[in-house]
């Protein structure tokens, strides 16, 4: 059994995956008058809420300034990862008729779930860029070339999320409680991941524990590249790559083992 076979098949069916992603986006925005504008409006409103709340309601963290920008980047990226995993847990249920009635390769559904969320993130990304530029103009951050490393962080995270999505999607067909479990673990992980706080806020002797959370290094990478504008340390790249490969191998192995039964059980 090749745990990377699902990845290979996804690649072979990339045209279908991209069509499914476009279908998902088109279906989501059709019907609303503002359409695709919501991709910008949603994150923009979120940013405004943070900026307002941490200015007038709560005191922002003193160690990361501007805190609203710090928080916004993390929350956007977290939004991608968590929504993709939750959608993955639902994808076979949502596509049951297709799975049972056509000869489609089942990998395409978790792939499309992750792809659609990634597309949402990419559509919202200009808002983050605008916020960074605004902060730079006001002198709150100093943009550096390290920002160009972010796409690689995103790619590695997307691969890791896809690996996990493969496993979660296949398991959720057989075990109804996977969806709830995933939702709750994600809520917990949100607080255990450096999103609300920087890695530096964690005492030195507990950093290793943070490392055990597979999400951590990616968000650390986000903060390095798009907030502090310093290059990602080599050890962090290795860690991110290792998480991505491990997730793909583990998720792929689970998927491969359950693959034949998906059409029967979904």
């Amino acid at each position: 059994m090749n745990p990377f076979a699902p990845l290979r098949r996804t690649w072979a069916h990339r045209a279908l995956v991209s069509a499914l992603v476009r279908r998902e986006l088109a279906a989501r925005y059709r019907g609303g008058t503002l359409g695709f504008l919501w991709s910008f409006l949603n994150p923009l409103l979120l940013l405004l809420v943070y900026a307002t709340v941490f200015r007038y309601v709560f005191a922002p963290r003193a160690d990361v300034r501007p805190y609203a920008l710090f928080l916004f980047g993390g929350v956007l990226l977290w939004g991608f990862a968590s929504a993709a995993l939750i959608d993955a847990a639902e994808c076979f249920r949502a596509n049951g008729p297709l799975l049972r009635k056509t000869t489609v390769s089942p990998e395409v559904f978790p792939a499309a779930a992750v792809g659609a969320r990634l597309a949402h993130f990419v559509l919202a990304f200009p808002v983050l860029v605008a916020a960074i530029v605004y902060a730079a103009v006001r002198g709150s951050v100093h943009i550096g070339a390290a920002a160009l490393e972010f796409p690689l962080v995103l790619v590695l995270l997307a691969l890791a999320v896809f690996g996990a999505a493969l496993g979660i999607s296949a398991l959720s067909v057989h075990y109804g409680d996977v969806r709830d479990l995933v939702g709750n673990l994600l809520t917990l992980a949100f607080f255990l991941t450096p999103i609300l706080y920087p890695v530096e806020a964690v005492p030195e002797r507990w950093r290793w524990a943070l490392r055990l959370n597979p999400f951590s290094s990616f968000f650390d990478g986000l903060h390095d590249t798009l907030f502090a504008f310093r290059p990602v340390p080599a050890v962090d790249w290795l860690w991110m790559a290792a998480v991505a490969v491990a997730a793909l191998a583990a998720g792929g192995a689970v998927f491969e083992r359950l693959r034949d039964s998906l059409a029967e059980e979904a």
Partner: protein, 409 residues
């Protein structure tokens, strides 16, 4: 069982669907406690049991059988959607499956976008879809609705579009499950034409249908599945005839059990003790052949002597349309006296009904129509015919041709 020309060969295939005790609540606990694989050992539902058959290239193979006999499972195995538990399934060439037309359609997006996605689902390349796009749209007749979301389509339009995409995906092997049942007459006609095109192009067609007339007519060979096994495999006409006989026999038993459960009204002064359909030898039957002699027999019991009585029968379609009705008054019999038990037989020398199931009403009533015993739907019977036809009347008939008309064989 195999041949070098076989497009499809199925060897000793069994399919057991796992049945979980609480499938809907399959929990993670079961994974950790027994392991995912261990759960298969608690028995299961046998959908197919040792099925073997093959289909040659260019052959149209019909599959008939009752609901639950394994037809859909067989198609899913051929399509590769599910794997056999045992045995092997070998399909040569590109395959397209029409298991549910428009299964891949997303209601919120346009017909145009759905065509592309469905094409990709069927394994077409983007380029191939673009090339065939116009032909697909023309076949489906949805030119004016291409950019409207599919949820605004009528069900007929969606079905036509689904069929058009699959039909234009240029498969070597086409699996068709009961798709003709969903469209209107016009669609069925175009679909059948398309199937003929496939046959002429040397494609292999596997055709599952409850429309036995269609199977007998369109398919050279047929297999009959019963409870997951091949009950018959041979020329379509023979297989269909055998299947029909079996169904009729089972129906007869069921009808006998259900007889007399129809609506019954009347004063009860006289009652219909028995209503039967007899064949030409006088045997009670549930099925007769069109054009043969049949008789309706009533056994009547009068609980007091009557001087005002009429016997009547009426044949109707199961949908309720009257096909034929008569009674002794209409036919000029003037009642004298009815006492005790009596037997009334109406013989019909040539029952020229079209194939189908019919319902019989029988009554004994007064001349003014006041019922003594009026039994609606007292029995149902099937009329079988060698030649299919539409409507309810199937007279003896003969075609003659002359001049510039020729028929193949």
């Amino acid at each position: 069982m195999s041949s070098p020309e076989a497009a499809i060969s199925v060897r000793d295939v069994s399919k057991v669907y796992r049945r979980y005790e609480r499938r809907a609540h399959g929990t993670l606990k079961s994974l950790f406690v027994v392991g995912a694989r261990g759960r298969t050992r608690d028995g299961g539902v046998v959908a197919l049991d040792g099925v073997s058959f093959w289909a040659a290239r260019g052959e149209t193979l019909g599959v008939v059988g009752a609901n639950g006999s394994g037809k859909s499972t067989l198609l899913k195995l051929l399509a590769g959607i599910v794997r056999p538990t045992r045995g092997s399934v070998d399909v040569r060439g590109r395959l397209a499956a029409l298991l549910e037309l428009g299964a891949g359609f997303h209601p919120e997006i346009s017909g145009r976008e759905n065509v592309e996605i469905t094409g990709l689902l069927l394994g077409l390349s983007r380029k191939a879809i673009a090339e065939r796009f116009d032909a697909i749209v023309r076949f489906a007749g949805v030119e004016d609705f291409l950019d409207a979301p599919v949820k605004t389509y009528s069900s007929g339009m969606a079905v036509r579009l689904g069929f058009a995409i699959a039909a234009h995906s240029d498969p070597d092997v086409l699996l068709v499950d009961e798709v003709l049942a969903v469209g209107d007459e016009m669609f069925a006609h175009r679909a059948l034409e398309k199937f003929s095109e496939f046959e002429r192009a040397g494609k292999t067609l596997v055709f599952v249908s409850h429309d036995l007339g269609l199977v007998a007519e369109r398919c050279r060979r047929a297999i009959w599945l019963e409870r997951g096994r091949v009950a018959a495999d041979g020329p379509a006409g023979e297989v269909v005839a055998r299947y029909r006989e079996q169904v009729a026999a089972e129906e007869g038993e069921r009808r006998a059990a259900a007889a007399g459960k129809g609506k019954r009204v009347g004063s009860g002064v006289a009652t219909l003790e028995l209503v039967r359909l007899l064949d030409r030898e006088g045997r009670p039957v549930a099925r007769v052949r069109s054009g043969e002699t049949a008789a309706i027999e009533l056994v009547v019991r009068a609980f007091e002597p009557l001087e005002d009585f009429v016997f009547g029968v009426e044949i109707a379609t199961v949908a309720g349309a009257t096909v034929f009705g008569t009674n002794t008054l209409l036919e000029g019999f003037r009642p004298g006296r009815l006492a005790g038990d009596a037997r009334v037989t109406l013989e019909i020398p040539s029952l020229d009904l079209a194939p189908g199931v019919y319902s019989l009403d029988a009554a004994v009533h007064a001349r003014d129509g006041a019922p003594y015993d009026y039994r609606r739907d007292v029995l149902r019977f099937e009329v079988a015919a060698d030649r299919p036809s539409t409507g309810v009347w199937s007279p003896g008939r003969k075609w003659t041709f002359s001049g510039g008309v020729r028929w193949k064989d």
